[in-house]
Symmetry: C2
Subunit: 182 residues, 2 copies
Amino acid sequence: MRRSKADTAESRRQIVAAASRLLRQRGPDRVSVAEVMQAAGMTHGGFYKHFESKDALLVAAIAEAFREKVAFLKSESAQDPDAARRNYAQSYLTPEHVDDLMNGCPIAGMTGDAVRSSGPISEALAAGAQATMEAFAGSDAATEAMRAGPIRSLSMMIGGLILARAVVDPSIRDEILRAVRQ
Amino acid sequence: MRRSKADTAESRRQIVAAASRLLRQRGPDRVSVAEVMQAAGMTHGGFYKHFESKDALLVAAIAEAFREKVAFLKSESAQDPDAARRNYAQSYLTPEHVDDLMNGCPIAGMTGDAVRSSGPISEALAAGAQATMEAFAGSDAATEAMRAGPIRSLSMMIGGLILARAVVDPSIRDEILRAVRQ
DNA sequence: TGTACATCAGTGAACGCGCGTTCACTGATGTAC
DNA sequence: TGTACATCAGTGAACGCGCGTTCACTGATGTAC
């Protein structure tokens, strides 16, 4: 039956939120539209009332995942960008984040798949990655020399997380996290 | 018709080599068995004479990709590990490597998918990642303090490559590569 | 404010395609004598 | 060394399942008067 506009908007939000999490946890090709809809509390048939295609949902889900992280980063770094970077790195390089694919860093969680994808999907990823870089380097970092340090830190965090996720042995994983935390 | 043992072994090598490249280029869920077999110069029906399943091929393809890189790293660092690391980093952080998914770093190219995979596949990835770390840190690096530097460098290289692949704008991509190259 | 009708969000069944896997078949290789 | 037979790598058609997408239907919401 028809729903109110508020209900419809809420449904759409639920779909995108569920997709954003499942996408990072399982990858675009191992999450089905039906699973996303179920996680959002609906059946799959109604999906196309909200999105033109699965790809369109992926674009929205990628954007949402980055939006969250960037908003958090920006609010943290409002006063003291350096402290915000340190805090973010500390919570980024933890065993909890290694295991928490679902809510984790969208760059580490989705680039593998999205880089190989077609137009709109890789554009959404590129926009998110650039926004993350800006939020991390700080919008005040006008010169390349000022951005280089934060870019290096961010690269090391992302690579360290990926390496820690790849190895299975917890003692090696912890060694990586310790090394990269500095 | 039946082939000689040498031909059979060569066929298997071709299949694994094709899979190792296609896997990095397109990801496990976007390469079909038929495509791999075609790239190896055969039709898909014969595949199961060589492998029990597509997953078994993925395991072999992951191992092969890492075997190549690790062999190269080890031969380079036989005399001067420090110089080998510097050289590897220089060729790693290039626009060419950003675009060359197919022959590129298997950690950057396959962790996204493999981390989410089942037993044998994630084990093959873990073994490869650990072997790469050892080859990069040098087998002589006995203490954690000695390994920390190389682990940090390797993390930064991997993260930088992934970040550079994620952004689309060539000028931002080059800025990332410059920053991480130091 | 109330009434009549059009709209459309959500349901559940069905369709169709791609792909992993199986199978009957072929004929050269390997092997037993 | 030669012969007869078993083996098995590779072919191409077929099977079956999962999943993205479509569709007829329902009934509450929104709207025109």
